[in-house]
């Protein structure tokens, strides 16, 4: 019974959701909407659970004084500060302070969160350039040369210079043909994997809800 009931629930819900794609009916559609709404609620709770998990993980690191526990402490303090400030401002204004022009929450969000995340994303450029430079040292072969050539063409072809129209066309071809072919393969693989997992869940072979 430990596995039968969850399997029955999962299979039943999956079948109901799947059947609504092939048959129309108010009752079965409402049932599907209820099930979908449950999933939406669980998805919303997942954000809250994620925040709590973040706090717990870093709290353990602070408690055990693990390496870098100071950063965990800063993380906890920042999270608690943002929660307290946001909750206070939200209770005061009655709406989410994130959307208020003068709220502390919005200032912190734009000045800290947006800037820091953009800065972190910009570091990716340095990492990629360094990796490409050292690639010929760690793996000096033709495949590496080809890889670096594609990178160079894409970078140079992306630059909007008129005299580089040939390179631009090569870049467009690389993106639309080889890159799209690879992306299509990835998407098809994902679709097949999703279908397989769905069938396995519907047949009870796959039980992700198990312990």
């Amino acid at each position: 019974m430990k596995y039968i009931i969850p399997a029955a629930i999962a299979i039943g819900v999956g079948l109901v959701t799947l059947v609504t794609y092939f048959f129309e009916g108010a009752d079965i559609l409402n049932l599907r909407l209820v099930l979908t709404n449950w999933a939406v609620i669980l998805g919303g709770l997942a954000v809250l659970v994620g925040v709590l998990n973040l706090l717990l993980v870093h709290a353990r690191r602070v408690q055990s004084q693990a390496r870098g526990w100071v950063y965990s402490l800063v993380t906890i303090a920042a999270a608690l500060f943002m929660i307290l400030v946001g909750s206070g401002e939200g209770l005061r204004s009655g709406i989410s302070p994130l959307y208020e022009e003068t709220s502390v929450t919005r200032v912190l969000f734009s000045g800290v969160v947006v800037a820091s995340q953009a800065a972190l994303a910009s570091l990716v450029m340095f990492f990629l350039v360094l990796a490409a430079m050292r690639m010929m040292r760690s793996r000096p072969n033709l495949w590496s040369v080809g890889f670096l050539a594609a990178v160079l063409i894409t970078l140079i072809g992306w630059m909007p210079f008129g005299f580089m129209s040939t390179v631009n066309r090569i870049r467009d071809w690389l993106i639309s043909v080889p890159a799209s072919a690879g992306a299509r393969g990835i998407i098809l693989g994902v679709a097949l994997g999703t279908l397989t997992v769905g069938i396995r869940v519907l047949t009870g072979v796959e039980r992700p809800y198990k312990d």
Binding site: Q117, A121, P140, W158, D172, A179, A183
Partner: protein, 778 residues
């Protein structure tokens, strides 16, 4: 008769196993003959072949009978049946043969066995073990009973009167018996009195009368013949006073190394049939002056004549009545003379000639172990009582003389034993190897083929390893070497990293960072290096046309599926599209996001966009929980009892929309500003296909390749990506460029150029360096 060599099958011979037979019969010889042809395993079961005689069984141990109760017990035999009473009356002192009393009721074979005269002397049995021969010396003082009493019996005797000699005991014991009998004597005992004086149970059995050949079975005839031979042999004269010693079996007498006669307390192997239960034991015990407690009387024996008694045959054994069917153990009796009538077998005793079974049955049973198992040629400990085993040469630890029940071995022991088997020694893997079927070669489909790897038993090649698992190809070896080299490099401190604390990073990284920073910062600082307008690709034109052709009062849904980390790239695209939408008249614009920070990004973009030109209506629906499920619910609607995502905006205010789903809202365009291709796919699959609404994707440059397949399949109107498309879209729409956008665009362009140069230079430098290292290694 042939007897086994000394010690052979002795482990099978126990007092309890001895058959009841004529009293003076040497039980050792009889047992030796009985079990000489039996398998050791059958020895225990053979014990049951002795015919049980329940009525005459003395339930109490003989040692418990005291001297005070002896006479009373002898006189209290009034419960005995007449036939036993007659037999008892016949057990007169010497001279009165038992055949006189009960021969008429006894079967022929039994009657023939009764008159076998007791042999006063025991012939030196050649088939006895050595340790028994050593104790074969004739008794010097047969009448001294106290000398023969073991220590433990002496302790029991305590204040009892001084022990009398066998002669004295034989002459004095019968005297109190009539006095105690008194007037309560039963009829059967009165008949006994009338027939003569009370029998002296301790007296030697009367000499048997010759039995005619017609009444004697064959096996008894043989016994008589052997008896005649033994009588012809020189022997010590029989003494009446030595009767108690003579009643003791020969093998017990031989056990005394001092040559003294067997102690009178040793019960005779076969009680007289006329004596009541325990009578014969009481006699010799009374001779020791022991207190014989009252023992429960056995139930009266039916008066059925003995010949008609057919004892039940135990399973697996038969008890022939004589003649040719006589078993071996009875045939062995012919080697020993009989003294007195054959005693009826005792109940449950099954040959308990000494009557010691009941005694030792109460003692704790020592479980038989491997260590306690006697060796061949050695008498098993269970054969002899403790006090007798002490006389055995070399005996150290006497074992209880009881039938040790064969206990079922514990599961652990059984498992350990089973593990010792050959099949268990072989491991499962070895079994699998044995059962493995050959797949190639001449031995194909043959199982049990010895694998070559099993032969290579060495230090580096164990038997359970397969050869194909051990062989490493050159390519694998090269890879292993490379992995080891990489691990070694990571483990070792980089020489560039230890140049100084100020240069925590390698110099090359510093140079790379500096070059990139300069390339990015220079256009921003100067602000004059304006790049030419980028060309408008077809995708951009399609997107522009899709928005530009929107009808008045159309509905557009914009999904902000990006967060601050990618806002620098997607925000210009969002602004370009919003500015264009703002040019449409009476447009209803709805923004939504499945990311927690998405509504904030939307609000930020909406605040920067120029939306006031066309007087469009903007509604930020906020956060849509559930990811793909939320999109699905938005598309097909919410359940009746649940609020629709279209009902309230991000501030919680009602949107005044009557539609509860996208299908009812019927948007004219869905614009997805996605940082990843997953968001594009979710919106295309869950919303675009469901509502049959055109979807325009504006993604990051990294997610664009994964969005192109949907564009090529027609599920997307257009795919815009990156700063270049934003600039191109603005240039195409004629909105102009903002300073921020120009800075980003120039910085990104120059940064990309610098990165390309660095990659080329780095590739060349590191390529030559790696080549030189390989040449040095070679």
């Amino acid at each position: 008769m042939t007897t086994p060599p000394d010690g052979e099958n002795y482990e099978e011979r126990k007092p309890a196993d001895q058959p009841t037979g004529p009293e003076p019969l040497d039980p050792l010889d009889a047992l030796r003959a009985q079990f000489s042809d039996e398998a050791p395993e059958e020895g225990r079961e053979r014990k049951s072949s002795v015919p049980p005689t329940a009525p005459l069984q003395d339930p109490e141990p003989d040692f418990t009978i005291g001297p005070e109760d002896e006479a009373r017990k002898s006189g209290a035999s009034g419960d005995l049946p007449d036939w036993l009473a007659e037999t008892m009356g016949a057990s007169q002192p010497a001279g009165a043969g038992p055949e006189e009393a009960g021969r008429g009721d006894l079967p022929d074979w039994l009657a023939g066995a009764q008159p076998v005269p007791a042999s006063p002397e025991q012939p030196a049995s050649s088939d006895r073990p050595d340790w028994l021969r050593a104790a074969d010396a004739p008794p010097e003082q047969p009448g001294d009973v106290s000398d023969d009493v073991p220590d433990w019996l002496r302790g029991v005797m305590g204040p009892s009167p001084p022990p009398a000699g066998p002669e004295k005991a034989a002459s004095q014991e019968p005297t109190p018996e009539p006095e105690r009998a008194g007037e309560d004597l039963p009829d059967w005992f009165r008949e006994v009195q009338e027939s003569g004086p009370p029998a002296d149970t301790t007296a030697p059995a009367p000499p048997p009368e010759p039995v005619s050949d017609a009444d004697t079975p064959d096996w008894l005839k043989d016994i008589q013949e052997v008896k005649a031979e033994e009588e012809a042999a020189p022997s010590a004269p029989a003494q009446p006073g030595a009767a108690p010693a003579e009643e003791v079996p020969d093998w017990l007498q031989d056990m005394f190394p001092t040559g003294e006669p067997a102690p009178p307390e040793t019960p005779p192997p076969t009680p007289e049939p006329a004596a009541p239960p325990g009578q014969e034991d009481a006699d010799w015990v009374s001779a020791l002056g022991l207190d014989v407690p009252e023992t429960p009387q056995p139930p009266p024996i039916p008066e059925a004549p003995l010949p008609e008694i057919t004892p039940p045959e135990p399973a697996g054994a038969s008890f022939p009545t004589g003649g040719e069917e006589l078993p071996d153990w009875m045939q062995a009796m012919e080697t020993a003379p009989t003294e007195g009538p054959p005693a009826a077998p005792q109940e449950g005793g099954e040959g308990d000639l000494l009557g010691l079974d009941e005694i030792f049955a109460t003692q704790p049973v020592k479980p038989r172990t491997e260590e306690s198992k006697p060796e061949e040629g050695e008498i098993e400990a269970g054969e002899l009582p403790d006090w007798l085993r002490g006389l055995q040469p070399g005996a150290e630890e006497p074992a209880p003389m009881v039938d040790i029940p064969v206990e079922e071995p514990s599961p652990e022991l059984r498992e350990q034993i089973e593990d010792l088997r050959f099949e268990s020694i072989l491991s499962e893997e070895a079994k699998a190897e044995e059962e493995r079927k050959e797949t190639v070669g001449a031995l194909r489909d043959v199982t049990g083929v010895i694998q070559p790897e099993l032969i290579f038993e060495g230090e580096s090649l164990s038997a359970d390893e397969r050869v194909d698992r051990i062989i490493v190809t050159d390519e694998q070896a090269a890879r292993i070497a490379m992995i080891k080299e990489l691990l070694a490099k990571e483990a070792s401190t980089s020489p560039e990293a230890v140049e100084g604390p100020a240069l925590a990073l390698p110099l090359g990284r510093w140079l790379t960072a500096v070059v990139l920073l300069v390339a990015i910062a220079l256009p921003v600082v100067l602000g004059e290096l304006i790049l030419p307008d980028p060309p408008a690709p077809p995708e951009l034109v399609a997107a522009y046309q899709q928005i530009d052709t929107l009808p008045p009062a159309s509905v557009v849904l914009v999904a902000f599926e990006y967060e601050p980390d990618t806002a620098g790239e997607l925000q210009p695209l969002a602004l370009a599209l919003l500015d264009h939408l703002g040019q449409r008249e009476e447009l209803s614009l709805y923004t939504i996001s499945t990311r927690p920070t998405g509504p904030a990004m939307a609000e930020r973009a909406l605040s920067e966009a120029d939306l006031a030109a066309g007087g469009i209506q903007v509604t930020n629906l906020g956060y849509l929980a559930g990811g793909a499920n939320g999109i699905r619910e938005l598309a097909i609607g919410s359940p009746p009892f649940s609020a629709s995502p279209l009902a309230f905006d991000y501030t919680g205010n009602a949107t005044q929309l009557t539609s509860t789903r996208l299908a009812d809202l019927r948007p004219d365009l869905i614009i997805v500003l996605a940082a990843s291709s997953t968001d594009v796919r979710d919106w295309v699959e869950q919303a675009g296909r469901t509502t049959e609404t055109p979807v325009l994707a504006a993604t990051s440059a990294g997610a664009a390749p994964l969005a192109y397949p949907y564009r090529q399949s027609g599920q997307l109107v257009a795919v815009l990506s990156g700063i270049n498309d934003a600039v191109a879209y603005r240039a195409l729409s004629g909105f102009g460029f903002t300073a921020a956008l120009l800075s980003i665009w120039n910085a990104q362009a120059f940064g990309g150029g610098a990165a390309a140069v660095l990659i080329v230079l780095g590739g060349i430098v590191y390529g030559f360096k790696a080549r030189r290292e390989r040449q040095e290694q070679d």
